[in-house]
Structure formats: structure tokens, C-alpha cells
Symmetry: C2
Subunit: 190 residues, 2 copies
């Protein structure tokens, strides 16, 4: 009797990520998760400190997955190809895993953030720019431009911000990547 359900922190976080994709990151709660595991809520608290801890772990998982995919996509590519591949990973992940993607945007406290895969992201973005002729502060500016654009575009898309006007958002995405590639190749000097 009273067979154990086999809850572990890892399984909890993975299930939480799945759940986020199904019902939205905000709706991922210890209660809901307990239901899924057919276990009483209080039982989760042996594996996870509290609701915030759970959400943070899901965020870290998402950041990790995203960095893995990006690194894979960047392997063997440079310049425009690298830019498009990286951007594609970002956007595809957001479409495939909206909940995880939302999680990846959770604000982390500085300590946690520093230990997260967020750092790898920054390095990968810099790697892309090695294919272009940018140096000094302008390289950082360019990283920030790309990061802002990716994040902003995908967020607006997710909010349906592009839904009721033409052309389709995918067209803009493709075209704008071309435009950005061109901009990076021909970066305006001071």
C-alpha cells in the first residue's frame, strides 16, 4: 500500500515545463503539479523549496535548452547563415514551447542569473558577430540590438501583435533578418 509516486526535483521541473507549455507559465503552481503527480501538495515541498523556487528551476531549464539548441545551430556556420540559424532557434523555440519561453524571461536574481545559461547566450551572440567586422563598443551595441529585436519580435508575435495586419509575421521576420544582416555588414561608423 501507499506506493510511492517517485517524485524527484528533476521530474517535477520537467513536468512543470511541460505544464507551462500546455497551460501557460503563470498557471504552473505546486497545486496543479501535485494533481498531475497524483500526490498531495505538501509532498512537493520536500523536493522544491517553494513556488518561486519551482518557477526559477523551470526558467533555468528553458535557458539551458535554448542555449543548447543555439550552440548546435551555430556549429559550422558564420555570417548571415549563423545569424539566421540563431534567430530561427530562438523563434522556433518560442513557438514550440511558449510556456518554457515565457519561463526563460522570468527575472532572476543577479546571483542565479550569473550561474545560468544566460551567460552562454551572450557568448553565442558575440560569436555570431565575429562573422562581421565589428569591434569595440559597437560590437556590444550590435549584440544588444539583436537581442532586443529577437526578444521584442517574438514577444509581440506571441501577444498576437502582428495578427491583424499584413504581411504575415513570418515574412517580416525573414525580411528583417536580411535587413539586419545587411546592417551588420555595412555598419554605420560614427
Amino acid at each position: 500500500m501507499m506506493a510511492r509516486a517517485g517524485v524527484t526535483t528533476e521530474r517535477l521541473v520537467h513536468a512543470g515545463a511541460e505544464l507551462a507549455d500546455e497551460i501557460g507559465f503563470d498557471a504552473v503552481t505546486p497545486s496543479e503539479l501535485a494533481r498531475r503527480f497524483d500526490v498531495k501538495v505538501a509532498s512537493l515541498y520536500s523536493h522544491v523549496k517553494n513556488a518561486h523556487d519551482l518557477r526559477t528551476r523551470i526558467a533555468l531549464l528553458a535557458l539551458d535548452e535554448l542555449a543548447d539548441r543555439a550552440a548546435a545551430a551555430l556549429a559550422g556556420r558564420a555570417g548571415r547563415e549563423a545569424l539566421v540559424a540563431f534567430a530561427g532557434v530562438y523563434r522556433d523555440y518560442a513557438h514550440e514551447h511558449p510556456g518554457r519561453f515565457a519561463a526563460a524571461q522570468l527575472r532572476l536574481d543577479p546571483e542565479t542569473a550569473a550561474a545560468s545559461a544566460g551567460v552562454r547566450h551572450a557568448e553565442l551572440m558575440r560569436a555570431i558577430l565575429r562573422g562581421y567586422d565589428l569591434t569595440g563598443p559597437d560590437q556590444t551595441h550590435a549584440v544588444r540590438l539583436l537581442g532586443s529585436f529577437f526578444r521584442g519580435f517574438v514577444a509581440l508575435e506571441a501577444d498576437g501583435g502582428f495578427d491583424h495586419s499584413l504581411p504575415a509575421s513570418t515574412d517580416s521576420w525573414t525580411r528583417l533578418l536580411d535587413v539586419l544582416d545587411s546592417l551588420l555588414r555595412d555598419w554605420p561608423r560614427l
Copy 2:
């Protein structure tokens, strides 16, 4: 005895916006608001349908304020000047009113969105582009580029994403607006 507190929907929404700036949009709840008005929670439900309705109203207020400011900033300006002014309004508002700004990003159902000031925003962005030589789909692409960049940059900044690297985020902001102006003036043709 039992003096009336004078709660109205309008006062509720305004106070909610203030509250959002103080403690964060997510923490704006009927309970907290009732405390501020020194009134029992249930009393709010005569003025606001439910928690979601309250949050939506705050979002609409923020969108309205933002559109007002943007319209004012754009008056009499064109080209680069208009771009910088508009962008400044956006970013300044986010800094001055982080809670309201977060509210402005609440996902609205299509019906509500269509009736919101979001529409005015789109028009204002298009107005900026009239100062540049862009036509057809590329104009829409450019609107989306600007929108994505503004939103992404400000969001990353708010999350502290730029805090632990140099140069300061303000430097990137200024420089990138120059770069974007230059890009719009010299938009790559197919």
C-alpha cells in the same frame, strides 16, 4: 457613521496604476487595493467585475497615457528627430512607470485590443516612417523592426539584462537609435 469611502471605477484604476508602479503590476490585487482604500475587498466588486477586469483597465490606462505622450512628442518633428523623440517617450515611460509599463504589455483579448490605444500606437509609428522613404510591405517591416526593438530593449533593460556589462545601456540606446535612423534612411532594397 459608516462614511462612504468614495470608491469609483476610475479612482480604483488610477490607484491600481500607482500601486503597480510601487509594488509591481503582478502584485496589484483587489485585496491590496481594498487595503489602500480602507475598504473591505468585497466592496470593490461593485466597481470592477473581477481581478482580471481590474488589470485590463490598468493596461488600457497605460496604453492611453503612452499614446498621448507619444503623440505630443511627435508633434512638429520628423525623420531622425521624430524617431528619437518617440523612442525616448517609450523608454522614459518605462523607467518612470515600470508597473504601468508592465501593464501595457498585458495580453488583451482581440476585441479589447482593437478598442485600445494600441491602434494609435501603430499609427504613430507609421507617421514616423513618413519621414523616410519607405513604401509598401517594407514600411510594415520597418514598423515591426522598430516596435520589436523598443519593446525588447526596454524589457531587457528592465530585467537588468544589461546591468553587468559595459557600456551603460543608455549609451547603447543612443547609439542604436542613430544606427536605426541610418538604416531607415538607407534601407536595403531587395
